[in-house]
Symmetry: C3
Subunit: 155 residues, 3 copies
């Protein structure tokens, strides 16, 4: 069996692949969400985007900031800040050969925490809902980072 | 042949490596592009950066926002938002053992779409040029996400 | 020995894993750093975050921009812009089978450059300290990109 087939056969790796796909697709949804808010509220970042909306009127009126759009964008940026470490550390964590059950626990908590974070941010729910969901994912990343450094580190 | 050598020998993996290197190097170019605009226009984000430009004059005059610089930065951020999923999903997609021709099609469309997106954003070209190039890359990521979840998912 | 075990056994891969874990954990620290500044200075991005700080007073007074917080956030974003290419290109570079000493040189310079960049940004140190630390990391990424394209490229 080739190396690539062995990856596709490993349960820990397949769990990693599944949850990475879920959180990355969820993160990509934020782009559509931003576009939806921009179009329905008529709030654009570039004059060429507002052209269709202005219908011959003043384009500049639609090139502006709006708090609802900025909220979605902050949520998107927070996703990037946390999902990038998850994808990177998660792969190295899988290669440090963890128990399947421990790995699944990490991946599931992280995916759940990011979905809860998005809901708390966009609803918005009162704090500390969002802070707690952020820290759940944050600690999963820290735990995987610790597992990597304590098992396969080579300085 | 060791596992690492098998990766370097797999055509699908080498195609992935090539197109990831291309889009990541292109993304890094955006940093240079931002620096170029900041220096030629005299628009800085930090007072210590403007010091050389001010030549003993008022530093604060050069610490400001400028629409041309913000445009480059939005383009850079949009790259991050789309290239991060591509790198992550692409790797998992390669490990789900796709056909070489299908994989090449995905990678080529994505790399082309991001280059077209940057050109449309910076020129700027009239819409829907940029929107179409964005969605071409977006759908490549969705398609790879679907391929991963339908072939090697493990919840 | 399975493919996953071979990775955990390869010194080049273990060096990669170590330095990726270091720079990603450092990047995650920036989130805590932003939170620390937001709370101590009373500068929030969302009304629901400022509620506890306002103690029944006017919430809107605390929903504002502050230059110290923006500085941390720019530093964080610069990390993302550079660490994402490092994680992606680094993995492909490891799979292009480099010499251990050359690989270690790349990884150590990059990790050092990002730590120096953060210190120069947050202190802040006078330029060109930050610019030099930025370019050290930038050239490491370029060098790895070149190594990938010249050894395992498949267009």
């Amino acid at each position: 069996m080739s190396a690539i087939e062995q990856f596709a056969d490993s349960e820990v790796f397949r769990a990693y692949a599944t949850y990475v796909a879920v959180v990355l697709l969820k993160m990509m949804l934020m782009s559509l969400c931003t576009a939806y808010y921009r179009i329905t509220l008529g709030v654009f970042a570039n004059p060429e985007d507002a052209l269709g909306h202005a219908k011959g009127g003043d384009v500049k009126k639609f090139v502006r900031r709006d708090e609802s759009v900025e909220r979605v964008r902050r949520c998107h940026l927070n996703d990037i800040e946390n999902i990038v470490p998850f994808v990177g550390l998660g792969l190295l964590y899988v290669l440090s050969n963890p128990e399947l059950s421990t790995a699944l626990l990490h991946f599931r908590i992280f995916a759940g925490s990011r979905i809860a974070h998005t809901i708390s941010y966009l609803a918005p729910l009162p704090q500390p809902g969002r802070a707690l969901s952020f820290f759940a994912g944050f600690f999963v990343n820290c735990s995987m980072g610790y597992a990597i450094l304590s098992s396969i580190s080579y300085f």
